[in-house]
Amino acid sequence: MASIIWLILWILIIVSLVGLPLIFIILFYLPLPPVNGEVLTPYLFLSMMVDPTRTLPILHFIIHTDLFKVAVFPGFSFAALLAAVTIFVERKFLAKMQLRIGPLYCGKIEGILQLLADGLKLIAKEIIIPSGADKPIFWAAPIAFVATAAAVVALIPVAPGWVAADVNVGIIAVFAILGFFPLIALLFSWASNSKYPFIGGLRALHQMIAFEIPFFLSALSVVILSGSLNLTDIAKAQHPYWYIFFLPISAFVFFISSLAELERIPFDLPEAESEIVAGWLTETSGMIFGLIQLGSYVKVYALSALFVVLFLGGWAGPQIFPKELAHGPTAGLMGLLTLQGVYNGVTVNAIFWFTVKTLGIIMLMLLPRGISPRIRIDILLHTGWYKLIVLTFINMFIALALIYGGILGPGGLLTAH
């Protein structure tokens, strides 16, 4: 008991003598936003500690900065969080499918902290670089992989106005960035100075070339219908009817191509374990492997989100959250908890529906891993070059017929006015 009192005493002394002066010094040099018309001073900040609702304007300010958009919400942290959920769900879901239990012990509740344990293990492991490897590229490739995956995420609109980079040629930018992945795989495999990674890298390149064209073409019919390359506009253009009803074949081709792009079973040829050890990942170890895994799961989120934006109407869905918060206690802690002043019913609803749809598509992407063997490279190339391209053309003609028949497009029968 006495030790706890001493502990509290020491904490108080350290906070008041070191912590508070430090906060004051930092706040003195930071350009702080004006709050409620008054300039935020260190004194005002202290008053916020007494009345937390006064921090709401600061929150409002922070969540509209570009840094927040890129780093936290529609950007990387959100994607990484969903990626972590994906890894956990994949493990438990596959385990249930295969009459197993899956992670169980770590974190007490159904092994929910297993991912954390795996991450710590990967960080603690030694990174082994093969002799004769091209070290700069060997180090740079995993970081480039994650960065490229994050760049795709930055282009995805999650809710109206909630996109890190709202470019007018959004869909072209997405495909341009996706084109970097096989390049990174090939560079990394070449840099690792080993035979199996080299075969894996070449396979990744083959696979990308075979599936990139149906990938583009399936998105092209969406562009024909919406008349825009901007992803936000595409999502808005699907207001009454989602494009999956008009373009089911394109959606199917897009789904298959994204599986191939993600190197997931049945298209995991570049990492085919029984043939070429681990493909282009053979020489990875420790956190290099961890970064590439993180990047590939962020990619899973990015492509599922792209599917939702292109075919499932983006954030569209019935309004289930209240538009305005009910009148209640606006002061005190309740105000902070309900985020009065920051809360926007439409945005929250949009984010909710977008996340639900994306998780649904991610579940569909996980499913083939349990039910399908690996495809062979010649069948893969045949599928990509012959079958999928023809299918996308069929749906492109359907899209053109819809436009010229006056059903969709400007002034069409089913267009929202």
Binding site: E273, S274, P373, I377
Partner: protein, 387 residues
Amino acid sequence: MEKNLEHQIDESEKLGMQIVKESEDDRLMTLSVGPQHPGSGHFRFTIKVDGDYVVHCDPDPGYVHRGEEKMCEYRNFIQNIPHLERPVIHDSANITYSYSLAVEELVGIQVPRRGQFIRAIASELDRQIYTLYWLAIYGIFLGHSTMFMWPTGDRELFIDLMDALSGARVTHAFNIPGGVRNDIPDGFKDKCLRHISYFEKRLKEYEDIFYTNPLFIQRTEGVGILTKEDAIGLGVTGSVLRASGVPYDIRKAEPYDVYNEIDFKVQYMKSGDSLARAYVPLLDMKESCHIMRQLLDKMPESGEVRAKLQPTPKGPPGEAYRRVESGRGALGYYIVSDGSPKPYRVKISVGSFRNMIALPHLLVGSKLADMPSVYWSLNYWPVEADR
């Protein structure tokens, strides 16, 4: 090194393989598959690939050689049983079965009828355990992880039965010269029938998820075709031989113990490709369930299970060769005795090694991606082949 290579090329020419000229060697990549490769097992083979095509294959077994045959010469006939089942622990009832048959012939023992039935049941159970394990690995070799988990889980059905029968999950040392080690426990028959009927339902699910999967059929149909003539010429056995259109099964061809009283069909297919070699074990498993039902039905209710033996049994000088149908084909023992309690020489003829001989024959000319589907369809167990 040079000499070694020339020797290898000579050997390859004898097997009828395509030989690569040295001037073309630049465009070839030599890959060493194994023993640490995830798709090889305790086995290594060197392949040369031209683009995606395998142009040369050179198997190099022997990584798990244990000298089982030599070890037999220092132990008496009974002491030999526990170490002889080590090469293939999943199928240990079968690998000791033919040893027991040969020793019984040498020593001159008549096995009681109930013992004959029980050891036939044990060998059928172990054949299922082995084939399920083989199927699991075939699944993961083709990238189908569910097909790895399901048979590995369903193996427990038969492992439980063997556990009840012998007290050990694997390496039972159950089939011994003179019969079986102990009698079956109470309620074994009902439990066995229950597990068999559940397993037959599961086999249908295997077909649904794996065998009728279009991607599986695309990957294995027409791949690594072994014609009937080649199969007979190369001397392959077991499911590989039956997949090439030869309905040959030791249980039918030279019935041992009680197999002549059992009514069953020899399952075979004619195409001789990887698909047929993957299908025949499944048909065998179905047939094995059928055989087990009959064995349980016809087994005498009571009686001796083991013939009385001397502590160190010995027979007159002589030799014996007996074989049984194991999970991988004909498994024979050739034992020479000089009249002492220890065998003078033991030679094990295993199906794995004979099937492996077909590997270079099938792999040359196929694609690199076909390597796992061809290699593992040969029903090859590296540890057994090295003995």
